[in-house]
């Protein structure tokens, strides 16, 4: 058997894996851009005075958080065609992860909004601002700022969660690594490289989050 060093395997595998990584990162970004506004809407809805709307939002959040992301992806990719909705693997991945992201970010945003002092709302009411303006201009901007660190930590988790889309045949980093492993039989070397790529990006990002958290707390 010809012995090839890990370095050689890595050098050969890297270009393909960078391609996969690009899809993982794109997916993460698209899901965040759609999912966090959905989470904001859910958190506003779950604080609504209308009981039906409140319970609907609670139900969406609990189902979104209680169902494993993998199952959500399977329902959308393998299940939706049964009800006449055939989505590509990328679109399925976006939809599935948006549901999970909306549910989780709703919780972070809700606790952010709740930590805006109540006197701020009272001040708005004293100034006779309409309720929508109180939320749009006072509560949401301050509450979102409080939620930012938690949302950023979640984004790192989401980046890792994109590896699940390997199961619905999306050609992201994990899936590309698996094919390379099958082709070369060097599973260990390839997956270790994939793991290191994930860990490096997550590590850098969480260091940035920590830095940001310190900056945010200093300005207070």
């Amino acid at each position: 058997m010809k012995q090839t060093s890990w370095m050689q395997i890595w050098a050969q595998a890297l270009p393909d894996m960078i391609g996969g990584l690009r899809i993982s990162l794109t997916l993460t970004a698209v899901v965040l851009v759609i999912g966090i506004p959905c989470g904001l809407v859910l958190s506003l809805g779950s604080g609504s005075r209308a009981k039906a709307l409140r319970w609907l939002c609670y139900a969406i959040v609990e189902i979104g958080r209680g169902t494993p992301a993998l199952v959500t992806l399977y329902i959308i990719y393998y299940g939706f065609p049964d009800i006449g909705l055939k989505l590509s693997s990328f679109v399925s991945a976006v939809v599935g992860l948006v549901i999970t992201t909306a549910a989780y970010s709703c919780e972070y945003i809700r606790s952010g909004l709740r930590s805006v002092p109540h006197s701020q709302i009272e001040a708005g009411e004293a100034l006779a601002l309409p309720r929508t303006d109180i939320y749009r201009r006072i509560v949401i901007p301050q509450g979102m700022r409080i939620a930012v660190p938690a949302l950023m930590s979640y984004s790192i988790q989401l980046f890792q969660m994109t590896s699940l889309t390997y199961n619905i045949t999306l050609r992201e980093l994990t899936s590309v690594s698996y094919s390379l492993g099958m082709k070369t039989f060097q599973y260990l070397a390839v997956f270790v490289l994939a793991g290191l790529i994930y860990a490096a990006i997550s590590g850098v990002c969480s260091a940035l989050v920590k830095l940001l958290e310190q900056r945010l707390s200093l300005t207070k």
């Binding site: 189902i63 169902t67 690594s177 270790v192 860990a199």
Partner: protein
């Protein structure tokens, strides 16, 4: 009925896998948390490296490294062994964080008291600190247990016949994709709700006890 029952057949393995991974992860987490609070800088650095790796690498990639990658001679891990090991590596870091914050929540006076009484390191942790800290940690542990149970669905990717694996099998056989997975989703939620309720009760009871 021929959908619900086959999916339900996977539930015991889901619970077993979660419990086993949690147990192994807990055993690994204890030394890790002690390392991360150690006075030795080298040990602290090592614990940070371990936590970085097991948090930075997605759980699915851990499972693949262990299942496809690791072989000692001709021996490979079975899918269940790889899943238990992989998920316990993943849970180890989270559990050690819970342990660490529990240890730190114990008033410094307790630590000083153990030293004043001349108790050894092992005795002071096992008889004084740990029994107090574990009470604070229980709610976080149960929350994490539910999270880990959801992560255990990943084991279907390496062929462990747990709930999602069974649901996929039914979906393939019956050519109906949506119902088996919806049934699986319902079971996950159904199992996690009682655990969540018990946790909330315990939290409430502890707050009253304070």
């Amino acid at each position: 009925m021929n959908i619900v029952v086959p999916v339900l057949m996977g539930l015991p393995l889901t619970v077993l896998l979660t419990a086993a991974a949690f147990a192994v992860g807990f055993v690994l987490a204890v030394p890790l948390s002690l390392m991360s609070t150690s006075r030795n800088a080298l040990l602290r650095l090592l614990s940070q490296l371990i936590i970085w790796l097991e948090r930075g690498v997605p759980p699915l990639v851990w499972l693949m490294i262990l299942y496809f990658g690791v072989r000692v001679g001709a021996v490979r891990l079975s899918s269940m062994q790889a899943a238990i090991l992989g998920l316990s590596v993943v849970s180890m870091g989270y559990l050690s964080e819970i342990l660490r914050s529990g240890f730190m929540a114990i008033p410094a006076g307790q630590y000083e008291a153990t030293r004043a009484l001349g108790l050894g390191y092992w005795t002071s942790y096992s008889r004084v600190i740990f029994p107090q800290a574990i009470k604070l940690m229980v709610p976080s542990f149960t929350t994490y247990f539910i999270g880990l149970m959801k992560d255990s669905s990943l084991a279907s990717s390496i062929g462990v016949a747990e709930m999602v694996f069974q649901a996929s099998k039914v979906a393939r056989r019956s050519q109906v994709g949506i119902t088996p997975f919806l049934v699986a989703a319902v079971f996950y939620i159904a199992v996690s709700i009682p655990i969540a309720i018990v946790t909330r009760r315990m939290e409430g009871a502890m707050r009253e006890a304070k």
